[in-house]
Symmetry: C2
Subunit: 359 residues, 2 copies
Amino acid sequence: MTKAEILKSSHFPWLETEGTDTDVVLASRIRLARNLKDVPFPGRADFSQLAAVREQVEGVMPAIAQAMDQDFEGIQLEELSPLELSVLVDKRLISPALAKNPQHREAIISADTRAVLMVNEDDHLRIQCQAAGFELDKPMAAALRIDDIIESQLDIAFDETMGYLTALPTNLGTGLRAIVYLHLPGLVFTKNIQSIAGIAPQLGLAVRSLFSDGKEASGCLYEISNQLTLGFSEKEILDNLKNAVAEIVAHERKARKALALYMKDQLEDKVWRSYGALRYARLLNEKETLELLSWVRLGLDLRLLGEVDRDSFGDVLIASRTSCIQYLADSENLSKNETDRLRAEQVRNVLAAHSQQKG
Amino acid sequence: MTKAEILKSSHFPWLETEGTDTDVVLASRIRLARNLKDVPFPGRADFSQLAAVREQVEGVMPAIAQAMDQDFEGIQLEELSPLELSVLVDKRLISPALAKNPQHREAIISADTRAVLMVNEDDHLRIQCQAAGFELDKPMAAALRIDDIIESQLDIAFDETMGYLTALPTNLGTGLRAIVYLHLPGLVFTKNIQSIAGIAPQLGLAVRSLFSDGKEASGCLYEISNQLTLGFSEKEILDNLKNAVAEIVAHERKARKALALYMKDQLEDKVWRSYGALRYARLLNEKETLELLSWVRLGLDLRLLGEVDRDSFGDVLIASRTSCIQYLADSENLSKNETDRLRAEQVRNVLAAHSQQKG
């Protein structure tokens, strides 16, 4: 995708629904933190040093593009408006930290948007690779392939005892953060989500809500990631996360089965009404959209609802973000009412495009 | 319509939307109370007397059918099940009082269902004629035409001073009850309905909710009728009611205009969401159905919603009554959940049949 397409699109391959366990796992992501040797971390580097880092990373890109067999689009963040930066953050293509100080920062994004190199985030380089569904191995392999090329051409800060050196101690060692995005309506509805979030730290994992409204997770969307990067091999880190996610997936399915069995009519009603609201509402706020979307996705996954395809979920999820609505309207100064009106319109359009059978 | 069709149908000409002021007035009804001379009122008559009354009225029917240029279907109420009786009451074809003691009671219904002769209700005969919209003159003329034939062939209790004698003193004199059915969402929403209901008694009128849930009118549906039958001519009674209704219609339109002007987005949202809920819900109770239906009708009348035709309102209104759902399922012993499930299904079917453009 070109920069313009990336900013405009609401469809990303890593939110598609063909893949492993996509009834519960939306996507999986690997992120490797790397730094250049003998260059201050970005937080302490001056502009000329940041510019030099960017230049060095850009120099490696042709080799990476060839190895990954696709083009990469380098987006200079200082050229983006604050709204455009928000759009990239909301689309989860770049981190909030990268967008915070756009000067001499860059996001280098692969044509399929699965791979992103963030330059001068907390670390000089963050290699981010993602895939749809429960799939950590492929993005890990992709990230390591990119890392191999980086390390073959650039001098990366690595300590024999500590491992990869990083700006934050929480990334030290492997520099690996593996994240799995989960949709857990069953566990939320049966009130089991808290116990899972409670156990996670003991397993070296963190459970967070993907879109949080205070302490509640809007739309039953969560992310679970490894907390520890040091003292374990990359394989151990991934295996630990995989085991935990596999457990959560099993629990979630059990909870859904119980709901579908004991509250069949109420569940179908909720699912279809939610679809009806997304389909017909003229005002939708961000939080309600996520909640309605969650029920619709559950209905799609339980095959209670057949009017739209499952990929509509990811598309609505992205398209309904306030930043994307503002970007579409080319204005950051929309009133809340106007934003909600445009959001409802946009949601209807996206759903209509996904309708297999109308009416 | 035949008896079977009357019991099954949910479409009645007097709920159609072609007519005068049908944006506010659903239907108008005239009812004349008449009694045979020297026969005890039904509440005091024995079975042989009731049977004789029925026989006398039936004897006049050929002449009435000829004058009205349509067939009449005589339904002997003792042949109906309690559920079938409820269906006729809920369809507002017969009064609850007629259904209460079905023995020797009869409803003689014209083919277009606009005219109904109720035999042995509180009075020996109640002539009921109705029309769609704000139209009291035509049903009045029809009722008087029927009455003329009745009076030309039967000996009707009439006192030169008192007028027509009736079982209840509230019907004495003209025996005329004129009723107008109104949909008043604007006045309900702007909280002006109470003042109108408060003024009515001073005008000799009564305002009641059509479907009441405690003291609230479900679906913003009201009926307004004359309270006084004695001491005024039929024309005076009708003119008084007409003037009041014309005032209410004007107020209601003003309230709607204000809503459409000052709360445009919220109103559209409410209308479309209500349509979406009726269109997609899997469980609907009677009260919520009326409320959703009210918003949909308002949306149709304000031309905010174009997906269904306006006649869908009357059809859903009738089809969604619990008695009609039970009749359709051929069971009075449905659970609440099952009733609500079938109601939602029925509402979807009726709306789908009325959809001009699906989706």
